[in-house]
Symmetry: C2
Subunit: 266 residues, 2 copies
């Protein structure tokens, strides 16, 4: 683990990342020492830094730090955190002279979820902020609460409605409703996080003869869905086997989609 | 500054407070070594811990730590942060065996805002989550963005509407619209944070013959307000002298209210 490029696991208790969640993160898949889809992650991180007004770390240095942490590992997860840095003044208002903090940490590849992936509808909504939606920022209490509810219900994931009842995303994933030759997914700007795996599915699905339609999804549509997949860089295109206690189908093209994903290096 | 009761300014870069904002804070006023309204802060912290499922630190130990940091200081601000602790597993879902982290830090009393307090309407909304609203949790990016906008506009504070256009709170304060002998304030459960200073104003205003009505406030009501005060434990009952470039009145009872506040020790 590196904190500002130096090996270590400690950081200042005055960091604005801790005090306000004033920062961003990326979770990356690493295979055979290679950081997958690094440029896509970097682009999202850069967009987030622009919106929050945080200086974006140097891309080449960040890549070198990332690769240094997973060298020799067959498979790993990598987390990059960039915060506005240690507070130089008290209060929410940034002073403007903060030096960004960056943390790069490798994690063991987690064990698989088991043969059957169980999801449900979150009893808690997700809020949507016009500037923050889509960003992978550090304000994640809604996801923590949703995952606590999922754990209590024996579920791997919960799909989260916004205040208007539109299902926006999973707590840790994006979603696609599989309907014949069509995949339906919440539209850009209305999904919780602009997912890297979501972008790959949008690009690759047409190669399997699937059309992807960005739209709004209601809980009622999910309740009658034949098949659903959820996506993130760890799970890939994960079929949901049970949704709200109802067994779903797994389209035979899901493994083909997964192969295409795994064969797309950047 | 104390981290888990020990002098020091460092904490683990794996703390869930940093990764997710998975925790709570309190900002306290200290006078002559005394921590003002400690029990009110403690009660709010306890409610937050209950909702987030974080073990509440021992109250007596927390008080002793707080007092140790401001002993001998004529005036100071104190910040208490309680997080769920260092992550024992990857991901949003708490493992359940985390040990809470507590940080107690004293800050210099900040310089006054100047003779005239300038506020405006935030161009950015505040989102309202059914479980999180009212809590002083660590997810504060909306407030950071609002304060950046305030700084760019030369304002001390911005008042924030929710998605429905109801003005809910300031970015760092609660608000009261002063209307004759009546103070109007967003209702419990619809204000951004259940403020300690707000609770004091609710209790003390009737002693000055003022009625307080919890209601909804629109931007239009603010635009025609005669007088507005904003409240937090640092500012007390702060009159707004300018709102959206319009000069407001300061009711002569504001200094009396402030005296009552300063004379209420707990």
């Amino acid at each position: 683990m590196l904190v500002n490029g130096q090996p270590g696991q400690r950081l200042s208790a005055l960091d604005r990342g801790l005090h306000y969640g004033d920062g961003l993160f990326e979770t990356l898949r690493c295979e055979q020492g290679r950081v997958c889809w690094f440029e896509r992650h970097l682009a999202r991180l850069g967009r987030g830094c622009g919106i929050l007004g945080i200086a974006m770390p140097d891309a080449a240095a960040l890549r070198a730090e990332a690769e240094s942490q997973v060298r020799g590992l067959p498979r790993a997860m990598l987390k990059i955190i960039v915060t506005r840095g240690v507070a130089t003044a008290r209060g929410y208002r940034p002073a403007g002279d903060e030096q960004p903090t960056r943390i790069v940490a490798a994690y063991d590849w987690p064990p698989p979820a088991g043969p059957e992936f169980r999801a449900g509808l979150s009893p808690l909504p997700i809020t949507m902020h016009p500037l923050l939606s889509g960003l992978k920022h550090l304000n994640r209490l809604e996801q923590v609460l949703a995952q606590r509810a999922a754990a209590a219900a024996g579920l791997h994931e919960v799909l989260m409605p916004d205040a208007g009842g539109r299902v926006v995303s999973g707590s840790m994933s994006n979603l696609f409703l599989w309907q014949g030759d069509e995949l339906l997914t919440p539209a850009d700007g209305e999904c919780g996080v602009a997912g890297v795996m979501r972008s790959l599915v949008l690009e690759l699905a047409p190669r399997l003869g699937l059309r992807v339609r960005q739209t709004t999804l209601s809980a009622a549509q999910l309740a009658s869905a034949r098949a659903i997949i959820v996506t993130n860089v760890r799970l890939g295109a994960q079929p949901v086997h049970w949704f709200e206690g109802r067994r779903l189908e797994v389209d035979p093209r899901v493994p083909l989609l997964q192969e295409l994903i795994d064969g797309t290096p950047s």
